[in-house]
Amino acid sequence: MSIDMSQFYQAFFEETVEQLGSMESLLLALDLDSPDADQLNAIFRAAHSIKGGSGTFGFTDMTEVTHILETLLDRIRKNEIAITSEMVDAFLLAVDVLREILGAHQSGNTADTEATIELCGKLERLALGSPVIQAKGAHRNSQRSAVGAAGNEARVGDLKEAVSKHAYQIKFPRTPTAFPSKKHLDSLLENLNNTGSISKQEITAKAVKLVLKTNASEEELREIFSFFLKPKQLSITEQDTGLSVPTPHDEQVYGFFEEPEQIRARIEEAQGYGLFVEPETIRSAVDNAQGYGFFEETEKIKARVENSQGYGLFVEPETIKTAVENQQGYGFFNEVADKSQPTGQFPAVRQEDNPGRRITDKAAAATLGDSSIRVSVGKVDKMVNLVGELVITQAMLAETISKMDAASNESLVTGLVQLERNTRDLQESVMSVRMMPINVVFSRFQRVVRDSAGKLNKKVQLKVVGESTELDKGLIEKVSDPLTHLVRNSLDHGIETPDERIAKGKNPVGTITLRAAHQGGNIVIEVSDDGAGLNRERIIAKAREKGMPVSDGMSDADVWQIIFAPGFSTAAVITDVSGRGVGMDVVKKNIESIGGRVDIVSQQGSGSTITIRLPLTLAILDGMSIAVGEQIYILPLSFISESLQPGLGDIKDISGQGQVVHVRGEYLPLLALYNVFKVDAKYTDPMEGILVLLEAEGNKVALQVDELLGQHQVVIKSLETNYRKVAGVSGATIMGDGRVALIIDVGALVKLSKH
């Protein structure tokens, strides 16, 4: 029988991605001063599982890495060595390297062996307790020249060390006959180093002790020494590195503590049958003839007799066992006769119950409990689209029925009400399939914060609130980059250095908080820090420099909006972490492209909070349909604060700046939609039409329309994919009567009102 192992690869890839993810988050959560035993165990287990899986499925490069990782983790877990932040860094690097290798295997490529070799070297040095040497740097070379191997390419050394099978402890006397000068000793050491790498050395005037990691055999090493020393002067002992992957061929791969026949006999005995002559006996006789069997027939019979009589197991002489093992390459232990044989004490198999059948049912029930299926996103998206069409059809039917006499078509009306309810439920459950917890994105930031804070010499802790908040998978993907940018900004420009923070009387450890929550039909994501806050003066000065229209009397909210301008950056120094050209304008554009908004609240000296508001899903929008002349438009409900009919004298003309409307003490710019889209309106006088008050990006505007038609859930169709991008329009939808209605981009409209 041949089994195609590749059918299990996908499961292995998926579980390894999960294991690596949990390893990473566990490492990041680890408290180095008092590491939690459970966490260490879990990290170890993850490495162990990956090793087991990769070994089984033949991904040996991963096995090598995880083996060293596992060895090191095992020592840490057993408190043999203390975990250091250096180790955590190396482990995190290992997670990255493993991810890369895994990715390569998944796409059928070969992984970057250089990174693997470098990592293995780093881990090995940590495991051997020697200080970590900057892998390829000058430091390493200088250390090498100290042992007389100057000029050796460090790369080669790394490779040799990473793959070396043996670690020898070598001791020899430094006699004047053998080594007349230091040069002679250096030359020997260089020769040794060429076979591998010397990881430890102790040279005194009289003797030399060193540890050599190499692939060379003891004989080969003795050969090198033969030029200098007599064989008996030299002591070479092999150390167990514990670092090379054990090759199963070298040892027994399985064994039993009891002979299989005995095991079977015992089972049978517990079942209450199976005495003297049995198929097993015959088979094992055949086995024996074929060279398989393990022990003599007489003893087997004896064992059975004994078993059937209900007492003790026999003990096979050690010698026979050893002989058998040696000969066959595997072996069995005899059962220690401390367990009395529980004859007849147990219920025998109740044949009448048909146990097989019962088990299958129960097994099926058990698997049902934890069942989940993986479905491609494409299938789900298709479903979402189909439900979208269904919503449109349902709206169309509702529209038709509304024109009919309800009394004479009662059953039809009732049926359609039912259909509406079913459609809504179906829509909700289909959308929920696409929902994922935002933790998918949030969890990534522990690593971002840790790495970046290290680079910037800052102390930062990340707090995450509401990580189980769910949002659409498509949104999660699109929000990930902007969030990363915001977190990096907070790290780089927000949080001050520990010294600055202490000087300001703050906790030297800065805090960045990620918060997610549902608010009405929106999801709100906040990135806040307790850092320096935005510098009002600097932003205004910079804006002036760039020739932007600013004044000192601007409101804070207006000043903060400046940082969203393209190419705007106040960063004095461009650091490794942020300031690489992707600015807040890109963040804003990305968020707005998915129908969201970005707001900033900042207090100089005490930090900033950036709030992202997103629709729950990209596919459906709560909208208000409005009419202008013959046209129907949709306004996203989330932007509408109220609608009103202006009273006499509320509308005022401002020379050169259009009209404003007076609403409860505030003057709001008045924008007529018929003017914006150049369509014919029923009413051109604002007093006759209706004003819809819209609020976006902290600005308010009154939009003049002919009438409000009603509130709908609309299925968003992209105008860009079906036609082209139109300024002031974010998309389109199909109304119940089959007409296309444009969805208004309120953000763009509000911006329009300002110019």
């Binding site: 499925f57 005995e269 058990a366």
Partner: protein
């Protein structure tokens, strides 16, 4: 009637491989992802489990504890239990034996080796 084997391993891929191999050879297989689940399923399945295969390093309940616990139950006193283990040191073997394991099989193993060993134990 097909003999039933309980396979306990926290790695889904290895469990799948083991289950597939055993099923292809005509055994019926109950899978469990850790020692606790193994115990629950062993108990729920009645008394017809012919062989238990268990990993060592697992969350919730490790292999040794699982074997020990299983052995305290009358209906599993005689059931053969094989440890699937990445470590084959004498120390591990002694621990396994003390816990009540019947034998061990070193990971990584291929499907043929697995079947060879299983057949030796339960035919």
């Amino acid at each position: 009637m097909a003999k039933t084997i309980l396979a306990v391993d926290d790695s889904t891929s290895i469990r799948q491989m083991v289950a597939f191999t055993l099923k292809s050879a005509g055994y019926s297989v109950i899978e469990a992802a850790d020692g606790q689940e193994g115990l629950d399923k062993a108990n729920a399945s009645g008394d017809a489990i012919s062989l238990v295969l268990t990993d060592q390093n697992m969350p919730k309940m490790d292999g040794l504890t699982f074997i020990k616990t299983l052995r305290t139950q009358p209906k599993f006193v005689a059931t053969p239990i094989l440890m699937l283990t990445t470590e084959s040191s004498d120390d591990m073997k002694a621990q396994g034996k003390a816990a009540g394991a019947t034998g061990w099989l070193v990971k990584p193993f291929d499907p043929h080796k697995l079947l060879e060993v299983v057949k030796k134990v339960i035919g």
